[in-house]
Symmetry: C2
Subunit: 344 residues, 2 copies
């Protein structure tokens, strides 16, 4: 496609194209069993290790695009950079085990800043029993963070959570509550002042997300098969699941759990932030009502049913209120090349 | 260390500090066996999988620091970006198996350029039976490439090649010949014109290196335990091995195999390019003379003994000519934060 720009195709379009190229281009071994379970396009890659399923994921963060050092400390940045990867492993139902950390840094970066960055990562790594096992550090004109996390499912191959396993009549559920991270982004971007307790909640959600590793493992253990972490936004990530599974979904927006501090600070806009803001790193999953009940009983984290999977056209998501009236918003999530909202 | 800049500490100093922090910071499980074999600081990380050793490595390339689109096509860039990672797995004696590719791209990047980049990677991946299984693609103000490669040793834990296993009286040997990649860099940087056959060799060495995977596996199988790939330069990489092993080395520079095209194009400077130029991605290893003979007999690739490991002070490397006279050069390799030569 001569002349087409990456920005025109968009991130997801580009990834889809590249995944298809990779699939077409690989060496075929028709006689050998295929150890690969999930390649490009899901939260993490998964393959058969010798006797357990191994998982790998990578995320890139670029200064002034994915983070600003004006609103994030280096220590928070270290925490968050690793947390977003653990969240991808959690969204597969796996246990994160190893991390490779690659940094691009301007030569005049303070060493203390980088050690603070590592302290943030190490705090999270210790808490989640993850080991940083390598990486690369290079010169760059701006700060670039690239972290790969490897994990394992700790269970049979069938027990991983994918974007492609949602089935009609499944309920759609989410862990925790939504909107605080996006609210934090707006707070920093707009220089907004809120009551200190609420502001601290937004800052924490934005800069120190807590990946739902235990909950992902619980989902997998209870027989749930479809999940994603909410990084692009509830609607956008539900769309990834619906598109991946060839199904539609209907969400009752009045059921969506909005973080109370977001309602306090943003009033009428709170629901929009909860539906379209990304980076909350809660888990969205689809399952039978019985599975969902079992999950709810087994964890202290709130688990809320917000809708159901339908057999309608692939990726068709309808948002309705409790009376069944349709709801519309302009921004539907965050495509890294098609930015339609303020960025962290 | 308040006020110290990354550039002052240098890449290797920084990595050493961060590795120590990670080691100190990890959760201690005194009763559990440690599955980690090699963490930060070697060519790749290695750990016990369930019944084989898994390997992981990552490399970052930043536009106008590690590559220039003026002297490298996108397809060559794809090849090389993946090749440098396969070379790290080769330097551990392992077989590369999976790659995660993370790209930071300006929004106005041509999609065709990115597909060309992927074609380059896919060509190499097919040849080496590696599968690209995931990654991340984000917006960035310049091109940033970050590739993680996972592999396995295909043999017992003891059969990996590390930087820390060189022993006094080992011979020091290298595969292939050296200097062509650095000569290519100088050719591009200086706009130099050479005889077309020689120029093609330099360009190929610079942009389409061939990782020595089969040779690394052969070394491991023959009982060799110490190796590194020559990415920073022969002397600098030998220094990594000597420092890692607590030994010294003596190299007879007259034995160093210099690529003939480099002699043709650069005359008297050829030896310096072979000793201090990086990115040839040949393997440097230390072993007994008998092991080295067995390796030489088992591969069509030239294997040349260039010196020996000594019990002298850690990291002390003496360069001598065939008469035993000391040889000195100014540039001793490429530290990514302390750049002392033209860059690709």
């Amino acid at each position: 496609m001569p002349g087409m720009k990456v920005a025109e195709l968009g991130e997801f379009g580009l990834i889809g194209r590249l995944a298809a190229m990779v699939s077409r281009g690989r060496a075929r071994r028709p006689d050998a069993p295929d150890p690969l379970i999930i390649g490009m396009g899901d939260d993490a890659a998964a393959w058969h290790g010798d006797s357990s399923v191994q998982l790998a994921t990578v995320d890139s963060l670029v200064q002034d695009i994915h983070f600003s050092l004006a609103s994030t400390s280096w220590e928070e940045l270290g925490w968050k950079s690793l947390a977003v990867n653990l969240s991808d492993i959690a969204a597969m139902g796996g246990l994160p085990r190893y991390a490779l950390v690659s940094l691009g840094l301007p030569g005049d970066t303070e060493v203390d800043d980088i050690t603070a960055f590592y302290h943030g990562m190490i705090d999270l790594a210790r808490e989640y029993d993850v080991r940083i096992i390598g990486g690369d550090t290079v010169s760059a004109p701006l700060v670039i963070i690239n972290i790969t996390v490897l994990g394992s499912s700790g269970s049979e191959a069938g027990q991983i959570l994918t974007r492609s396993a949602a089935r009609p009549k499944d309920v759609v559920a989410v862990t925790g509550s939504l909107g605080a991270a996006a609210a934090g982004v707006e707070m920093f971007a707009g220089g907004l002042t809120f009551e200190p307790g609420a502001a601290a909640i937004l800052r924490e959600a934005c800069n120190r997300p807590r990946p739902r590793v235990a909950e992902g493992k619980l989902l997998a253990g209870q027989g749930v098969r479809a999940a994603i972490d909410i990084s692009d936004g509830l609607v956008a990530d539900l769309d990834h699941v619906c598109t991946g599974s060839g199904v539609g979904a209907r969400v009752n927006v009045d059921l969506v759990p909005v973080t109370p501090a977001v309602r306090e600070c943003f009033g009428d806009r709170a629901l929009e932030l909860a539906l379209t803001g990304g980076e909350d790193y809660e888990l969205l999953f689809t399952a039978t009502a019985e599975q969902t009940d079992r999950v709810r009983e087994a964890t202290p984290v709130p688990v809320t049913v917000i809708g159901e999977i339908t057999a309608e056209g692939t990726g068709a998501i309808s948002l309705v209120d409790s009376r069944g009236n349709p709801v519309r918003f302009s921004g539907m999530g965050w495509d890294h090349f098609r930015v339609s909202r303020s960025q962290t």
